[in-house]
């Protein structure tokens, strides 16, 4: 059974990526265990009377030499707001690593990574970690408007970047499902991975099923514990109700009852 830990990290960076998105880099006092894209941490939100439970966030980057771990935090409500205000030097208590990662592609496979909202975090992590040549990797990122996008140019080196915005202010106009890479080229890929709003993932799953393409999605169900003891985060699957926190958050779309 995988070892899990609870530990304090020191915030060493908190950068604003856009009006509602923050990059938070944390330093551990001990060497970090191996962590993979799709896995997440459960973050304690301190110094507020409004929040009782932890909040789950995907692991975005790990540096095993520096013992750092980074998150991308999008403000959705009270907890993410409070977290976004954390200052360098403060500590953050994490339970980690949690959940299962994406199935890594085989070498030479062609993959498509689709991220929406805060769902880009595990996608970019996967782009970096999958070990494929950039020409085999396409990264499609969707947002409402260009202002909601964050700058990910450096990920060019891991794959080709594509964007959609609902208002057409950046990339293709519409949802990610309207982008040519998905609309017309889906069969070209061996594996498709997605993380983002449920509606987006459901739409992608539909297309992937039609195209008969392998597709994994990462769910963001509400969680109380994050390590499999509360059974609050369940998702109905062909194997019955499974825990998103331990059986997921990554699921093959064929397992889901979508």
């Amino acid at each position: 059974m995988s070892k899990k830990t609870v530990a304090d990290f020191v915030v060493i960076e908190n950068t604003t990526l856009n009006a509602s998105t923050y990059f938070i880099k944390l330093k551990a006092s001990k060497p970090l265990p191996r962590m993979k894209p799709g896995q997440f941490v459960n973050v304690e939100i301190k110094n507020t009377d409004e929040i009782f439970l932890r909040r789950p966030f995907s692991i975005f980057e790990v540096d095993y030499l520096e013992n750092t771990l980074s998150l991308i935090v999008k403000i959705l409500g009270r907890g993410s707001k409070k977290l976004s205000e954390i200052k360098v030097g403060e500590t953050l208590n994490l339970i980690f690593p949690l959940g299962k990662s994406f199935t890594y592609p085989e070498s030479k496979e062609k993959i498509l990574l689709i991220g929406g909202g805060s769902g880009i975090a595990p996608m970019l992590f996967l782009a970096k970690e999958c070990g494929l040549q950039p020409e085999n990797v396409d990264i499609l990122i969707g947002a409402r408007t260009s202002k909601d996008h964050i700058n990910v140019d450096e990920y060019n080196k891991y794959g080709s970047l594509h964007f959609t915005t609902e208002d057409g202010s950046l990339g293709t106009k519409g949802f990610v499902t309207h982008h040519p890479v998905l609309k017309t080229n889906l069969k070209y890929f061996d594996k498709v991975y997605a993380c983002g709003p449920e509606a987006m993932m459901k739409a992608i799953a539909k297309e992937a099923k039609v195209a008969g393409v392998f597709c994994e999605v990462s769910l963001e169900n509400l969680m109380a514990c994050g390590f499999g003891v509360c059974l609050c985060c369940i998702e109905p699957t062909v194997k019955g109700n499974l825990c998103v926190c331990t059986d997921g958050p990554v699921f093959n779309i064929n397992e889901l009852k979508w």
Binding site: M1, K3, K4, L53, N93, V229, L231, E235, N241
Partner: protein, 303 residues
């Protein structure tokens, strides 16, 4: 060296700190973090006769200093437990207690009979207080006659230590406690969750698929503590205190009010190490206050 060991009827615990049912899985999940043999006992996830899918998502809502859950006893049934889970966990060096549930008295009995056969299960906790199931559950625990009936029948089927878990959603919990004591309960544990509700005012919908759910966490501690105190005064069997315990001071408060041991529930979601911290904290308290045995705390509130 202070004495932390506690006896609940024939159940010997190395310390009074257990993890509550439904908040510590089947103990395995905790072994991801630490050696569960440090715990007084682990109350396993509520188990029924047959597989139960539980309630639909969403099952959880955060509240002020607490949370609501509507899990609804999701479990694979007692046979699955016996065949698949029990063999994996039975050698943990901590008492594993099955939390027995049913929609009918017969179901409670059937589950109990099967558990009775398991060598490494020294006790059951009879859950007559689950607020999240349509049939059975809390319905048994909120009236004396039905609490008596299920306790009496399960008692017949079970030879080891039988703890009955009480619902706080009643006018007089000490009446229910006396009723189950009268039918052979070896101990009572309290409280289970309070029936509560949460609403999304913007979307104008309930936050739980089941509309209502069970409230747990520090929010309920003052009420749970009062109930433990009332029940302690009403019965002779040991009382196990549950409800919002987050730290050693909380645990000690429950013991002062009359608990012989305590269970940690929702706190585990915040930090799975809290039960261990509480054990250390109690030991420290006994040393500081020059108290020999943790048993001397029970009911020692000064008035």
């Amino acid at each position: 060296m202070v004495n932390l060991s506690v006896k609940i009827h024939e159940l010997q615990l190395k310390n009074p700190v257990m993890t509550a049912s439904g908040t510590s899985g089947f103990a395995e999940e905790l072994t991801d973090f630490y050696d569960v043999s440090k715990l007084g006992a682990v109350l396993l996830k509520g188990t029924t006769l047959k597989n139960r899918d539980g309630n639909a998502y969403p099952r959880m809502a955060e509240t002020a200093s607490g949370m609501l859950n509507a899990v609804g006893l999701q479990n694979k049934g007692i046979d699955y437990f016996i065949e698949n889970i029990y063999p994996r966990i039975k050698d943990y060096e901590t008492p594993l207690i099955v939390n027995v549930n049913g929609s009918t008295v017969e179901e409670y009995i059937e589950v109990t009979e099967k558990v009775n056969e398991l060598d490494k299960i020294p006790a059951i906790e009879l859950n007559i207080s689950c607020p999240n199931v349509k049939e059975g559950g809390m319905a048994f625990g909120i009236s004396c006659p039905s609490a008596e009936a299920v306790t009496r029948e399960v008692r017949r089927a079970y030879k080891k230590t039988m703890i009955v878990k009480l619902s706080p959603n009643v006018t007089d919990i000490s009446e229910i406690a006396k009723a189950v004591e009268g039918q052979g309960a070896d101990s009572v544990s309290l409280v289970n969750t309070f029936l509560g509700m949460a609403i999304d005012s913007e979307k104008r919908i309930p936050l739980l698929s089941t509309i209502t759910g069970g409230l747990s966490g520090p929010a309920i501690k003052p009420i749970a503590l009062r109930m433990v105190w009332q029940v302690y005064k009403a019965v002779k069997i040991p009382v196990i205190g549950i409800g919002g315990i987050m730290n050693a001071a909380d645990a000690i408060e429950f013991m002062l009010a009359g608990a012989s041991a305590i269970q940690v529930g929702t706190a585990i979601f915040k930090d799975p190490f809290i039960p261990l911290n509480i054990i250390d904290g109690i030991e420290n308290y006994l040393v500081r206050h020059k108290i020999q045995s943790v048993n001397d705390l029970t009911g020692s509130l000064q008035m």
